[in-house]
Symmetry: C2
Subunit: 161 residues, 2 copies
DNA sequence: CGATATAGGACCGAACCAGTCCTTGATTAC
DNA sequence: GTAATCAAGGACTGGTTCGGTCCTATATCG
């Protein structure tokens, strides 16, 4: 039902945390876990993944921890989420490389691919730096270019379970 | 991992199917299930839900079945998905009504809300009619307004599990 | 009546998510 | 050298959700 995993959340939180600090100092997994109430062993694995994916540089030993490996402006939410959760697949009809195993029968594949690409684009246009900058009141321009043509009931409507 | 459920897929497929037929005739759940290889009892419940949500009108008895209850231009993918899968919540930090139970600690809530709204907008801008029109090569204009500013590696990159 | 429909409750296996536990190994402080 | 502090990573578990099946009840037409 179109939800991000908590791991992805935690990963973004951690990266934001690191992006807002002096890049010279490291923060340990425990520091971050404590700061946001995230279970330490869980966060550890997320940070390990982010390190392996090249977002973080890790330092072992006393006073070790993690620091950003790249400029936060060069880390998109899309990359981060993909590195933690794996590829984003809107519908099982296509993997990120395409191909539906249902052959030609899945008639909504192409329309949904548009949505899929739109979501990727959305996530790709948000960087860790955007997230770390406190005043997201003025969002990245091209994220909000689209006309907000919702009907009054649109977003407020709430489908009962 | 940001995936639509198969139920939502099936629901969209069914609505598209109905939208492309003569609105005077009904199609039974079995017809649709057979046409797309969807398990009948599963599809039945989806159609029931869609009927209860006002997308379909159902007719029981021999030669019964389903027909669209409204103009397909007035049914958005967002409404359909919500009616089948329930509310879309990008992150557990906020329900569709807002409110994070982690109080102030979840620092990425606001940035993610932008993504969340973007996705809703995306889905809200696609109608069943859009999906049913075969030539989606020319997509709804405001869905694709955004600049496609992906780095070369962007969409192709594939995060290993 | 009997065939064909929808309506809907109960149930089940598999997958995945979130989280825990435990061990290993590197680095620094003492 | 030893202890403390850190990351690395494998194994496991409880819970939830998803996808799907089964079965019964009810409505409608021939």
């Amino acid at each position: 039902m179109l939800k991000l995993t908590k791991k992805a959340d935690y990963g973004l939180i951690a990266l934001k945390h690191l992006a807002m600090r002096n890049p010279a100092e490291t923060a340990s997994a425990k520091d971050i876990a404590d700061a946001y109430g995230i279970p330490l062993p869980l966060l550890s694995k997320i940070l390990q993944k982010l390190a392996k994916s090249g977002f973080l540089r890790s330092e072992q030993g006393t006073n070790g921890g993690y620091r950003l490996a790249r400029d936060p402006r060069e880390m998109t939410a899309l990359e981060v989420i993909r590195s933690i959760d794996g590829p984003i697949i809107l519908t099982s009809c296509f993997t990120e490389h395409g191909e539906c195993h249902h052959s030609g029968r899945c008639s909504v594949r192409e329309p949904l691919r548009k949505v899929h690409d739109g979501i990727l684009r959305l996530l790709n246009n948000i960087t860790i730096r955007d997230i770390a900058s406190e005043d997201m009141e003025v969002p990245a321009p091209d994220v909000d270019v689209q006309v907000y043509r919702l009907k009054p009931s649109g977003l407020a409507a709430h489908a009962s379970k």
